[in-house]
């Protein structure tokens, strides 16, 4: 076994948006920081949807708007509900963008370069195998293969697939049937120059975010997404994993998850948008559906703090995912807390729980609690099947008539009947959904 002679103040595991922020802010406060990443360079294992809210990131990464590899500022939101042969689309355009699109590998690399400028020792190509504890259970370092590196405190920023926390017995083994997790699968299409602007009605540097609900996920809670980048478009789906397993068991899902993405790419309504495009990448990543239900019992232990996705600090609103900004923000809070714990006399659980309080008092936790109801929604299968059909039915009854047009009420009633739903409970549910959103 090789024990590494150099001792660090802080070791951060995982150079994602959370880990990079924790390392950067800890180094800025004068701590000697080691940041360890399993991928080749930073960002090479990162995959997400495509849009990032800039507000909280301004606090974490000064200069982000000027320096970061930003592709487009989102000025238009679209939402489509897809049925068999029908599509309903809602679009909303605004002039003061608050979010941008970027390739997460590039953005993460930028963040880590900032951390390195502050003196962080960044080590890539190294997979951490476990947290190292002393006789009293305090975390004192990390192990990778035969090597152990020691630090006063370890920041766990390993992301949603949290093997280290599992191995340390802090969280349960990942089980799709119990944990609120979803799988995102995505294709990146490269378009001819100018095609994105022409086909989507965007000006230079303007971006669009497009969510898709309905039959694309075969009734599994989840949805599709489309994001625009400089000269590429990302097309993907996110499906709740527990429900996906149920759907396979019930024989409802008979195709591979990759076919769900393919069916959006080849959907007649969408495919004209990326005519003459070349698929340049394909990939998948786990994400958290309901942050509060994914949170470990504590966010800080003796010698350990947990940040980002690993801590369940992700806001999945169904129509939009906020992970990158929350992850980075929690990393910054962790570094502040470490500095406070240092002043209080050491990295024990009691001192480090300052971090837990800081998270609870920040916008992150307040938002998670405020949107708690969304967790119910992501579990509600019917929302993704019959309700989408009912909505499309209403539109079809209203518009697709040859002679006699129904009143709106008639259209609604007829559609609900054919959807096999009772009217009153349905209205109750719709009201609930509206409240949650």
């Amino acid at each position: 076994m090789g024990s590494i002679p150099t001792r660090f103040d802080v070791i951060v595991v995982g150079a994602g948006p959370a880990g990079a922020a924790a390392a950067y802010h800890a180094a800025k406060r004068g701590f000697k920081v080691l940041l360890v990443e399993r991928g080749r360079g930073a960002g090479s294992k990162e995959l997400y949807g495509g849009r990032i809210y800039v507000g909280p990131l301004r606090d974490v990464w000064p200069g982000i708007e000027k320096e970061a590899p930003i592709h487009r500022w989102v000025v238009e939101e679209r939402l489509s509900i897809i049925g068999d042969g029908e599509v309903a689309t809602l679009s909303y355009r605004y002039s003061n963008p608050v979010s941008f699109t970027a390739y997460l590998p590039d953005l993460t690399r930028w963040m880590v370069s900032k951390a390195e400028e502050e003196g962080v020792v960044f080590v890539d190509e190294v997979r951490v195998d476990s947290l190292v504890r002393d006789g009293e259970g305090r975390v004192i370092g990390i192990r990778s293969g035969p090597d152990v590196a020691y630090a006063s405190v370890v920041v766990d920023a390993e992301g949603a697939n949290r093997l280290l926390l599992e191995r340390a017995g802090i969280v349960d083994a990942l089980d799709a049937k119990r944990a609120p997790i979803a799988l995102g699968v995505k294709e990146v299409l490269k378009l001819p120059k100018g095609a994105i602007e022409d086909r989507l009605g965007l000006s230079d540097g303007e971006g669009l975010s497009w969510l898709i609900a309905g039959t694309v996920t075969k009734g599994i809670p989840g949805g599709g997404f489309i994001y625009t980048f400089k000269d590429t478009i990302a097309v993907g789906v996110v499906v709740h994993l527990g429900h996906s397993v149920n759907a396979v068991e019930a024989g409802v899902l008979k195709e591979s998850v990759k076919d769900l993405v393919e069916s959006i790419r080849l959907h007649p309504y969408f495919k004209r948008l990326w005519r003459d495009s070349d698929i340049v990448e394909y990939g998948a990543h786990l994400t958290v559906e309901c942050g509060l239900d994914y949170m470990p019992p504590h966010l800080a232990y003796d010698g350990l703090v947990i940040v980002g996705d690993a801590a369940g600090l992700l806001l999945n609103l169904g129509y939009t995912v906020r992970g990158v900004d929350l992850a980075s923000y929690s990393g910054m809070l962790a570094a502040e807390a470490i500095a406070k714990a240092h002043d209080l006399g050491g990295m024990n659980a009691e001192n480090l729980r300052v971090y837990e309080n800081m998270v609870k008092e920040s916008f992150i936790y307040k938002e998670l609690v405020r949107h708690r109801g969304i967790c119910w929604l992501t579990k509600e299968r019917r929302f993704f099947t019959s309700y989408a059909n009912i909505l499309l039915g209403i539109l079809s009854n209203l518009y697709v008539q040859e002679f006699k047009h129904p009143t709106v009420f008639e259209a609604v009633k007829a559609s609900i009947r054919s959807g096999g739903e009772a009217l009153l409970p349905l209205i109750g549910r719709i009201l609930k959904v509206v409240r949650e959103l």
């Binding site: 360890v36 080749r40 360079g41 080590v123 890539d124 190294v126 990390i142 590196a149």
Partner: protein, 279 residues
Amino acid sequence: MRVVVGIKWVPNTQAVRFDPRTGTLLREGVPSIVNPHDLVAVEFALELRDKYGGEVIAITMAPPSALKGLEHVIGMGVDRGILITDRVFAGADTLATSYVIAHAIRKIEREIGHVDLAVFGQETIDSSTAHIGAQTASWLGWPYLYYVTKAEPVDGKLIVERTLEDRVEVYELELPAVVAVAMRSRKPRPVRLANKIRAKLEKPLIIWSNKELGLDPRCVGLRGSPTVVAKITFTPEVPRKKKIYRPRSGDDAAHWILKSLLADEKASKILRRILGGEM
């Protein structure tokens, strides 16, 4: 022993794509890697050092981005890395490259210490020429052997084994010498945390440009390269699906291979044609 191992920083060719419309190679965002066969040579050199002591120096002639490759092999345990980088070296073929490498080895001998062995990979994934080892040896006037699988220093000489298809040959080489290590003869060891931290904190990296090497510009880079690439052709790849099966016995393995072949429409047609009535 002081062992110098040459590594090449090559585009990950698996990921390069060919555009038939424009006849160009698409390599946007395709990262470079250390030539996989050179990692086998690094492992070979590290095994010698671990057993007989001394140091391993990795050397590469490449653009500055190749520092990542040197960091990778330092992560595996190489003691230090030398990057030879200069605009005048660009466009070099194997002759001009080996010329520079040979002179760099001479410089190592002058400034760091006596070199006992220079090690190369069998070939590179981006050009498969397998020239560098032999050419370096002839510039240096050192003995050279390829397909080497084993080496052991005995009384100032190197007892070297090479494995050919039908036999194993054993040679005694005068040192210093050059060897090219047989590909797949050993598995490169993984990168280690301790080594990576050392790479970052101690920066055991040297960069030499032609200012330090002082070579005649007519002998290096494009000007020193007599090779002309006439035409690049592309052989379309048939999508392959590798499968791993751990057989319980030889019979089991045969059974599984046959079953998998029969499950494939094309393969089973061919099989049936060959075997005719027997199936």
